[in-house]
Symmetry: C2
Subunit: 246 residues, 2 copies
DNA sequence: CGTAGACTTGACGGCACTCAAACAAGGTGG
DNA sequence: CCACCTTGTTTGAGTGCCGTCAAGTCTACG
């Protein structure tokens, strides 16, 4: 069992190791904190607004999105998760969910009961700071999205998103910054960018005809990353990809 | 000295106590972690993107905003801070700032050296979780702003912001949800809403003529809170104002 | 071969933008 | 005490990004 879990946490460990070293004992403590591995189908809500989860969920494979609905029925994503991301680590201190999380594709999940995390935080101060750090990375992503939503055009926001996903997937070993698999629909893209699906389509076509994006059959290729980054005002500083003591 | 600091942290303690109890020893440890109190003038950048602060800053009095600039020179706020808020607690695990913080008014600040926080996290697990919680509340605010920016009109976003500030100020004892002091300019409001200052002005006038907002001489009054909340789709769940063990 | 889901296109309308100018109020110095 | 300056607010006219509505195309799959 431990071996299976260790393999499942590989992307998660890569994500942490890009920011700080981890002692073998800490690594083992994390593996031991997993209660179960689970599979869910695309389209399922993993947690819902108002839920009080008794465990935190790590995304092992697949894509998910945090979202909220507004009264008109429109959906807005607050984040897209890739393998190695916790989708609701904040539910541990926060208790109640203030948003929902949707599986954008079929997913595999690793479950960490809150009681196990509680023990971790009592015994492993450095590991606690690392978990804290992970939630702060989410926060940094949110701030970046706020800047994009507030001050960039929909096309620039799309450029930014494609840059971000490439880097984040490359960090966990699932592709290159300019070439990766991504199972989102254009409707999903629209919900991330805060535009209608019609306009999301026009944005995609604009990027395509500018030679900045190839996107077909769930495969994304970015032929001119430099120009795409300039268009989306993308600077990876906010991803905090620096390994140092935390 | 301890007494002066204790008074300065009053709003901070109120903010925490709305979410969980704190032991006297924890309270004292926090007071002892403050190195200095400082004053700054409106318009000063308290920290800048790229900084590596050696201390965290708690806002004792005044208003500040987290912001980023885009290439066009426009500014986007990611959050507005009120007394009792940490303005850069995330710099402790994150190390490098990915955005700047601006004093919107004259401010008083309490400084917590990282080394003192490091000791706290080694000795006080519950207190560590509370600090973690505070950064997660920021995260929840960010998600709410994302929903507003992505899916609400500028007028609705303004309504939402006035509701949010009222509740947050009331929590720390600085006014009522429908009646409080706020020293922002219309340009500041524009930077929070992600619109031009011209349009921010038009939004304010729309709210005024609808009988939803009185705002003059730094005083905000909200004559019809129910209607304002409906317009801004405001639901305070995301503020997590529930006292329970964390 | 029929259906469902995703993607694409066109026409038209409105929210929010830019540019430009005028107005108000507080502070400072002569 | 007034002229002047600075900062903040207000107004108008013209423009454009993005919205809605509606239809049509493509692809996978049973």
């Amino acid at each position: 069992m431990d071996d299976l879990v260790t393999n499942s946490l590989e992307t998660f460990f890569r994500r942490i190791e890009r920011r700080d070293g981890m002692a073998p004992a800490e690594r083992l403590a994390l593996v031991r904190s997993v209660s179960t591995l689970e599979n869910v189908r695309a389209g399922v809500d993993l947690v819902k607004e108002g839920d009080r989860p008794s465990r935190c969920t790590l995304l092992v494979s697949g894509f998910t999105a945090r979202y909220r609905l507004v009264s008109s029925g429109e959906r807005q994503f607050a984040a897209i998760h890739v393998p190695g991301d916790f989708i609701d680590l904040h539910s541990f201190p926060l208790k109640e969910m203030d948003h929902s999380v949707l599986a954008l594709s079929d997913c595999t999940l690793a479950m960490f009961p809150h009681s196990n995390l509680q023990e971790l935080t009592e015994s492993y101060p450095h590991l606690t700071r690392l978990l804290w750090l992970l939630t702060l990375l989410d926060s940094a992503l949110h701030r970046e999205w706020i800047m994009c939503l507030g001050r960039l055009s929909a096309t620039a926001r799309a450029a930014h998103l494609f840059c971000e996903l490439g880097i984040r997937l490359a960090v966990v070993g699932l592709g290159e910054p300019d070439n990766y698999d991504m199972p989102l629909t254009q409707q999903d893209l629209a919900d991330a960018l805060g535009v209608s699906s019609v306009h999301a389509n026009r944005v995609v076509q604009a990027l395509r005809s500018d030679g900045l994006l190839v996107w077909q059959a769930d495969r994304v290729t970015l032929p001119d990353l430099a120009r795409l980054r300039a268009l989306g005002e993308f600077d990876e500083r906010y991803l905090h990809l620096v390994r140092e003591p935390r």
